[in-house]
Symmetry: C2
Subunit: 144 residues, 2 copies
DNA sequence: CTACTGTTGCGACTCATTCTCAATAAGGAT
DNA sequence: ATCCTTATTGAGAATGAGTCGCAACAGTAG
C-alpha cells in the first residue's frame, strides 16, 4: 500500500497542481496526529516543530486532503469543523456522549449495506457516509 | 399527541424558564417551515410576518429547541448549521449529492439496530443518531 | 536558465454567532 | 391588581473561524 504522501503527490500531479514543502508538511502533520484534529491543532503542531506555515495555507490544503480522500470531516463542534485521516484506516463511525463530549469510534458493517440500498433507490453513486450515534455514557449516567 | 407548542411550554416550565411570546414565535416559525432551515431563514420568515424578533433571540432559542427534542442539527453547510424539526416526524437520514448539494431524505430501519448494538457494547444510553450518506446523483454524473 | 503562473504569508475582510448592557416584562408574592 | 425580583429582549459591539487580495516567491516546462 502506498504511503499517504505518495497518494498525495499523485493527487497533486493529476490535478496539475504544484508539489510544495508547505503542503507536504501539512500532510505529515495530519498523519502525525492519531486522533481527530482541527486547523488550530495542525497549526500548533507545525509551530512546535518550528515549521513556519501560515494558517491560510493549512486552510487551503484541507480541501485538497478531502478531495484526495486522505481525510474527511468528522464532526462540527465548538464552532468549527474537526477532521480525521481515513487513508489506511478501516471506516468507522462515532459514538458521542452528549454530557461529557467523549467520542468513541466503532465499526459497523451493516451501514455498508445501507449505502448500497439507498444508492440504488435514488440513483446515486455513493462514495461514503458519516454515522454519528449519540447518547449518555455509563459514567455520566451515574453522576446524575 | 401533544402539539409542539405544548411540548415546548412544558419544557420551559420544567426548566424554570419564562414563557415569552418571542420564544413561542420562534417555535411556530420552526414548525411552519417544512424543510431544513437555518437561523437566517427563521429570521426572514418572522420578519415577513412583521414579527420583530431579533436574531440574538433566535440564536438563544435554538439550544432550547435542541434540548427539548423538538429540533436537531441536520448538517453543516455554507459556513453554518442547518436544522430540522423532528417532533412528530419519523426519523430519517440524509443522502447528499457532493456536486449539486441536493439533499434527499430517506428512512432506513436497520440503523435502529445499530443503535441498540452499539449502545450495549459501550454502555451508552443511546438517544439518537445522525446518518449522512453522500455521493453523486444521477443528474450530476451525466453532466461530466 | 528563463518565463510563466501557481502558491505562500500577511493582514484585511466577511460573516456566523456570542456577548454586553440598559430597558422591558414574566411570574410569584402581597 | 400591584409590586418586586430577576430572566429575557434588542441593538450593537465583540469574537472567532474561515476567506480573500496582493506582492513576493518558487515550481515546473521548455
Amino acid at each position: 500500500m502506498k504511503s499517504e504522501i505518495e497518494v498525495f503527490r499523485k493527487f497533486i500531479r493529476n490535478k496539475g497542481l504544484r508539489k510544495t514543502p508547505e503542503r507536504e508538511q501539512v500532510v505529515r502533520a495530519v498523519f502525525a496526529i492519531h486522533d481527530h484534529f482541527d486547523v488550530d491543532e495542525l497549526y500548533a503542531l507545525l509551530r512546535r516543530e518550528n515549521e513556519k506555515i501560515s494558517k491560510a495555507t493549512i486552510y487551503r490544503t484541507i480541501p485538497l486532503l478531502l478531495e484526495s480522500g486522505l481525510i474527511q470531516e468528522a464532526y462540527f463542534e465548538d464552532g468549527h469543523l474537526h477532521y480525521e485521516h481515513i487513508y489506511g484506516h478501516d471506516h468507522h463511525c462515532h459514538l458521542r456522549c452528549l454530557d461529557c463530549g467523549k467520542v468513541i469510534e466503532f465499526t459497523e458493517e451493516t451501514v455498508k449495506d445501507v449505502e448500497g440500498k439507498v444508492g440504488e433507490r435514488y440513483d446515486f453513486l455513493v462514495t461514503g457516509h458519516k454515522l454519528e450515534v449519540y447518547g449518555h455514557c455509563g459514567k455520566c449516567r451515574v453522576h446524575k
